[in-house]
Every structure is written in C-alpha cells, then in structure tokens.
C-alpha cells in the first residue's frame, strides 16, 4: 500500500471529477445506463465506472447502439470485454431501419438520423432509462463546448441550448419529471490528449483499430475507408490498397476515415496525437453533412 502524494496532477483532477459525476448519477438517478460505443472514450469511461464503485461492479447496465455497420473488430472487442468483466450489456438496433434497408451509402444524413439518433431514442424509451452516460468531450466540437455535464432532455429527448440549467461547482441538479431524462458527460473537461495519456497511464485495453497496421482500404473523397466486408461496393476507378492506417475515432466503418500512419504502439499513437494539428473529428464524416451547425442540429434532435 502506498501513502498518497498530496499534489494532484491534471489527470488526477479530471479522474476525480469524472468519478464524482458517475457516483452522483448512481446515487440520485432512478434508472441510469452507460452508453458504450466501444471507442477509446467509452473504454476510459468504463474504467472510471469500475474505479468509482470498486469493490462493487458498476450498478447500471451498458448499452451499445449497433447500426449494423460497425467495424467487425469493434464487435468482437465489445463482446469479449463485457464478458471478461462480467458486465451487463444491452445491444439495440433499429430493426425497422434494417428492414427498410437504410444504409450509409445510399441514405447519407438520414442514415445517421434513423440508425443512430432514432435507435438511441427507441432504446432509452424501451428500457425506461432516466439518465444515460455518454463519452462526449467539450473539446470535440463547438456546440459540445457549450453543453453542461448534466444535459437535460425534454420528453422528446431534445436539447435546448438556450435554456440549459445553470451548473454550479460540483452541485448537479438531477431532478426530472416523468418522461424527461438526462444525458451525462463525465469526460466533458477531458481533451483528446488527456484521454490518450490516461489510456497509457492506466494501461487500458482499446480496439486494435487504433493502432497502425496494413489494412485493405479504398481512398474515397480523400479519406481511407476500410474494406471491412463485402457490403462496401467499389465505385469506378476505385481500387483496394493494402496501406498502413490507423483510426483516430471509431464508428461505422463506411463513415470513418483512417489516417496513414506507422504508429503501432500506444506510445507512438500518443506521440502522434500530441503533435497532431487537425482537429479530431475531421476524420468523421458525419459532422460535415449540413455544415458547421450540423452537430448542434443533431443534438437538438436527441443525438448525443
């Protein structure tokens, strides 16, 4: 056993803040759930949830909104990790969307609305969750920069940026009426660098897609898209190349561009990230549809 050092580092403070938030939800909200997107932020959030309640297991289930288009490696990772840790996992897919054949190639922005936003709303309603943790960070995007840690959603699960509850010190108002809910972001004040440093410090396992490896990709609109299964149809002039790529964010494979990289260890990935100058979300195509206000629009509609 160690005697604790008095000085608190930057990561100590962020960790303490996140644990405090997670415990507040467990103590005050009636039926919480932690959204688990399998990405690095979710992996950090999962670790924080384990730390917050140890020796007890997190007192809420984890939920993955599966569009059916996630990278195969993500799904394998999800199932293995949840099993190893003995946690309760709920997987929800918008079956109606699947029946209608909604896909990222043909339906663009509608695909995100139906398979992500709608699916999430369906799942929260179906299980009656009153609070859902998300791994979003304020440094990701400018409308998120203004969002509270405890983000109130009305009965339609919509966010009203002009009428947010004032959030003071560490006092969170978790009270809601029937049908209303909360989205809670314990990583609000973390930056991408913080997330990576924490993963390194805590030795947190993440999906191997974050590390560079020779992978079959096709270059489309300046982005390297992984050929993850046969549903990716080559367009005229496109060819599959074996290139060393890694992914800075993970989502639906047809919508997530990889970057050329040789970084195949956590140290190299962190090093590359610390010197990166393009903001993280430029590789995620979803935010670009509909211009700079698109994330804010999606959030108002109930997307995270």
């Amino acid at each position: 056993m160690k005697t604790e050092l008095v000085s608190k580092t930057h990561l100590d403070r962020l960790e303490a803040e996140a644990i405090y938030i997670i415990r507040e939800v467990a103590a005050e909200c009636e039926k919480p759930v932690m959204l688990y997107s399998i990405g690095k932020d979710s992996s950090v959030m999962l670790r924080l949830a384990e730390k917050a309640f140890y020796p007890e297991k997190p007192p809420f289930p984890f939920m993955h909104i599966d569009t059916g288009w996630k990278f195969k490696e993500m799904i394998e990772f999800r199932d293995r990790v949840m099993k190893e840790k003995g946690l309760e996992l709920i997987v929800h897919t918008n079956e109606e969307g699947v029946r209608k054949g909604i896909n990222p190639f043909d339906h663009g922005a509608a695909y995100t609305d139906i398979m992500k936003t709608e699916a999430l709303k369906q799942a929260l309603t179906k299980y009656g969750f009153t609070a859902a943790f998300g791994g979003a960070r304020r440094d990701e995007e400018k409308s998120r920069a203004k969002e509270r840690v405890f983000s109130f959603r009305d009965a339609n699960q919509a966010w009203d940026p002009r009428n947010q509850r004032p959030e003071m010190w560490n006092l969170y108002n978790t009270r809601i009426a029937k049908g209303e809910s909360m989205r809670v972001f314990p990583l609000s004040n973390w930056t991408e660098k913080d997330v990576w440093q924490y993963i390194m410090q805590e030795n947190i396992e993440i999906v191997p897609l974050y590390f560079a490896k020779k992978r079959p990709v096709v270059c489309r609109d300046g982005q390297y898209i992984l050929v993850d299964d046969e549903r990716l149809k080559l367009k005229d002039g496109e060819k599959i190349e074996e290139l060393s790529v890694r992914f800075r964010t993970l989502g639906c494979y047809p919508l997530t561009g990889g970057s050329l990289s040789e970084a195949d260890t956590i140290e190299e990935v962190v090093e590359e990230t610390l010197h990166a100058s393009a903001s993280e979300r430029t590789t995620r195509i979803i935010d670009k549809d509909g211009g700079s206000a698109s994330m804010e629009m999606r959030k108002k509609e109930g997307y995270f």
């Binding site: 056993m1 160690k2 005697t3 604790e4 008095v6 000085s7 608190k8 580092t9 930057h10 990561l11 100590d12 403070r13 962020l14 960790e15 303490a16 644990i19 405090y20 415990r23 507040e24 467990a26 103590a27 005050e28 384990e50 730390k51 917050a52 309640f53 140890y54 020796p55 007890e56 297991k57 304020r138 440094d139 400018k142 920069a145 203004k146 940026p161 002009r162 947010q164 509850r165 004032p166 959030e167 003071m168 010190w169 560490n170 006092l171 108002n173 009270r175 809601i176 009426a177 609000s188 004040n189 930056t191 660098k193 100058s277 393009a278 903001s279 700079s292």
Partner: protein, 606 residues
Amino acid sequence: MKELLKFLTCGSVDDGKSTLMGRLLYDAGLLFDDQQEELEKGPTDGSRFEYADLLDGLTDEREQGITIDVAYRYFTTKERSFIVADTPGHEQYTRNMAVGASFADLAVILLDASKGIKTQTYRHARICRLMGIKSFVFAVNKMDTVDFSEDVFKSVETELMSLSENLGIDELCIIPLSAYDGDNVAKKSERMPWYDGPNLLSYMEGVKIDVDIPCKDFVMPVQRVCRPNADYRGYEGEIAAGSIGIGSRVRVLPGNEYAKITSIIKAAEDKETASAGSPVTITIDRDIDISRGDVITDSETLRKTDSIEAKIIWFDDEPLDLNSSYYIKLGTCSVPAQVNEISYLEDASSGEKQKSEKVEKNNIACVKIRISRKIVCTKFEELPALGRFLLINRVSNATAACGTIVSTKEAGTNLTYHATDITKELRSEAMGQKPLTIWMSGLSGAGKSTLANAVETAMHAMGRHTMLLDGDNVRLGLNNDLGFNEDDRAENIRRVAEVSKLMNDAGLIVLTAFISPYQEDRKLARKIIGKDAFFEVFVDTPIEVCESRDVKGLYKKARSGEIAEFTGVSSPFERPDNPDFTIDMSEGSPEDAAALLIREISKKMK
C-alpha cells in the same frame, strides 16, 4: 505530469477578450496548421487580421444570439494545462457568468485602458468573488490607444487596488497590455519598459493557486454506500478537506457517532492515507447507520443547523416565492427548505444594499433560509464544499438559485461590536486581578460543585472577586428553556461560556461546574472565552463512587429508565484530552483539593 489551471475570462466584447485569447494561443504556438496558414496569408481585402476570428464560433454565435452561454476551451503549454471558461459580459447574463466563475480557480478580467474601470468591472469581480475565486488578473488592455502611458496605467492600477481591497481580493496581478500587438501577452513589451512585472502567459503558467481552505480537519460528505455483498459496507465520497489514514478516529454527522477507519480505497487501489480532492471508498470498524448526505469528519467543531443566512444569485425566470418550499442541494444532501426573509438586495456593480420584497432573475440577495431538518454545513469561507448550495424549484425542477453561506445562525448578523471607553484591561486593573474562567467538567456527583465552592471560598478569603456558575442554578433561570438532548446540552454550554466571558470582561474570576460531557462543546467554550483565560479542570471521580453517592438520586432514576440521556449511564462522557488540572474527588477534603488547584492556577497562569 502537469498541473491544471481552470480560469475564466470576463469583460465585454469591446474590451478585446476574444482578441486576447486568439493572440495568446498564437503567441504560445498553439494554433492548428490551417489557422496558422490563414493568419500568415492575412485577409484578402487588405483589412487587418482579427485574432478574434481564430476563436471558432464566437462571431457566428453572436449572430445566432447564443453568446449568452459559457464556452469551454482547452490548451496546454510546456508548463501547464489550462481550461478556459469564456463567459458572456452583459448584465442580463449574470447567471451564466456565475456558472463560469464557479468552475474556475482564477479570473482574468479585461478592461480598456482608455476607459478605465467601469461599473461592469466591479460587477464581474464581485460575482467571481461571490463564487469563491481568490486569485485575479486584471488585464488592462489597449495600452496602445493611450500611447503606452505609465501614468494612465498607474491611475487605473490605483483604482483596481482599491476595488480589490473593497472586495477582499488579496491575490492579484495587474498587467498593462496590448492584446492585438501582443505586448505583455506572451512576451515582454518593449514599448512599456517601465513595467517590470510578468507577462500574462508567464504569470498564468507560474501562479500558485491557493487551494488552502481554513478547515484543516478531515471532511467527507457521503455520496453513496457501497454494498457489493453482505460483508462489505463502504462509504463513497470525495474528500472535501484534510486527510485521513487507516486507524484515524472519525465522527459521523448528523448522528454524532464515533468510529475508526479500517480501510481506504482510492480509485480501486488500497491506500493507507488519502487527502483532499481524492475520490475514496472507506470502511469503519463499527456498524453505524450511514447514508448519503451524512458527513464523515474528524472535526470537533463541524455542526449541523437548520437555519442559515446566505448570499444567493437568482437564476430562474420565476421570482423567489417566500411561501414556497424549494429543495436545497448542499454537499450530497438534498432536503426541502424555505426562504423566510430577504435581508437585502445587493447591487452587483456598486455593492449597495437595498431593502426589497422581491428577488428576481440575476439579482444578488442576502436571505435567511430555514431548512426542514438539521444538516451539516459551514460558512462558505470556512469550507466551500459544505458552504455552497443550489435551490431547486420543487414543481418545475429548475435550478432557481445558487448560494454561499454567510452565517449559520439567525441571530447576530446585523450586529456590530461596539468598543467602550473602559476596556476589560482597565476593569481588570481596577480589581487588581487577572480575570479567568475555571471550567470544571465531570460526571454528575463527581464533586464539581463542592470543589468549586471550596475554591471560591479560598479565593474570597484571598480578596479575589469571584463568581460561581453552577449547572442546576443556571438551568433554573437563564437556561430554563433547555432540555437534555444533545443540541440543548450544547446550547446550555454555549450560553454559560458567553456569560463567563462577559463576567471575565467585567474583571471577575469565574468558576463553572457543569457536566459538559462533549469535547466539541468544551472546545467551543474555550474558543468563546479565549484560551488565555480558560483553565480546564477535569473532576475525574470514578463512576462507581459517583453512583454510590447519588446525592440527588439521579443514577437510580437513570438506571431504572426514568431519566433518559443521563451522562455516564445512557449518554456518553467524553474525557478531556489534555486538561490543565485533573483531580479525583473520591478521597481527601475539598479544602485540600482547592489548595492544590489554586497552586496549579498560579503556576500556570502567570
């Protein structure tokens, strides 16, 4: 690993807030490649480049009308990590500024050198102070518009010093700068050679944030109880003050029960100690009913109360309703409460106090609040974590207000101490003696009154001016409204201590004979009377002897259950840790004991 500094920037748009932030990021080499490129190319229309445009979003938001909210930005230099809460400046957005201020360790307040201090400078500083910020930077911008004049800066500086003194700000730095040109932003200005202080960035990288709070005791509000199985019961919370180790003795409030710490888990690791700011799970050696909202502490002075006076900032569109009940969320505790009096409204700019029947959105007010049950809280200045709160509308669930506790008692808030011409020193001189309170504690029947009586007789014979305060006598008169539960016992002792102090001020030597079973109350008595005039005597007669004497027949009644909460039988007696004098009154004459005691007093109190 780097330290984190959270700060907020405030000032109106015209003061150059965005320009300053943009310039700071540029000079610190923190821009993205595309932004750097844009900057180097310069505007195509030949106009001057606006650093403010680098702050993605700001202009755009102004058009959309949502500048009203706080935006958070993140950057890291070689020395430190920073989080900036960028807050709106206008008066109607006071509540949003308060949100940013509650988040920050330090405030950067901008002003325009050519315009000097404006009422909004006062308002920003006042709100930041109210939210608990202790460190301030005043950035006196646009020095280029006043020809970098030292005289102009000096006069603004003098005004800022008096503002700071006014608001009780002691950590401050006043920097003359020109944000657009980068003078004193991240490098020393050559155009202001007369300024020898730090530039903004180097000050922010080096400033030590005083996280010291007056409360040194261990305090942890319980967030949640951890029960993975029937054998384990841990208490989760973040340590608000002090530190703790395995084996430490703690008290659980509001129940006031004692226990020892048996294990400490911090973020899933076993630890021997843990300190303020750490999220922990602790276990104790006894089975006590502890739940969320309780406080675990080693403090003997932390108290519970149902009546507080506080400064609040009203947030809600619906004004304060004195007939409504709100939830007060304080620490981890959430209970109904009612505002029962508006003491005054405080003008955010001038600080002027005015009487008012109403408190509306963005008003700052001082109010009295009655809480539906006693909860553990303190003055905000003493321990922020237990001195700040939210008021939540019970119907709409809106966060109606936030507040900081000014005092935890109803009385005494509008009173000021008046100095008199004849001082206590003069009175003491006239009597030819040093005033003193001899505080005797011990079980019922221990011989406190007998001893006090013998001491007073001996002192009287020596020509001393004395007064004896005896438990029963005081309870028959002054304190006949008090019972014997814990709170009433505490109040009984507090009043006796106040009376003793007044008599000491009059020049008298006071002898008190009270059971005074609680350490906390004796500590309070010592504090009221003053440690130099307080002489603690422990009449340590064994309980068997006291019970066999049973002069008043009380032990018999207590044993039969006729008297509840009888000290030594059904209510605890906490032995004094380090009394000035201890005596067992089972044997020997009271006169001999008195002589011993008087000798000890003259030895110690010289």
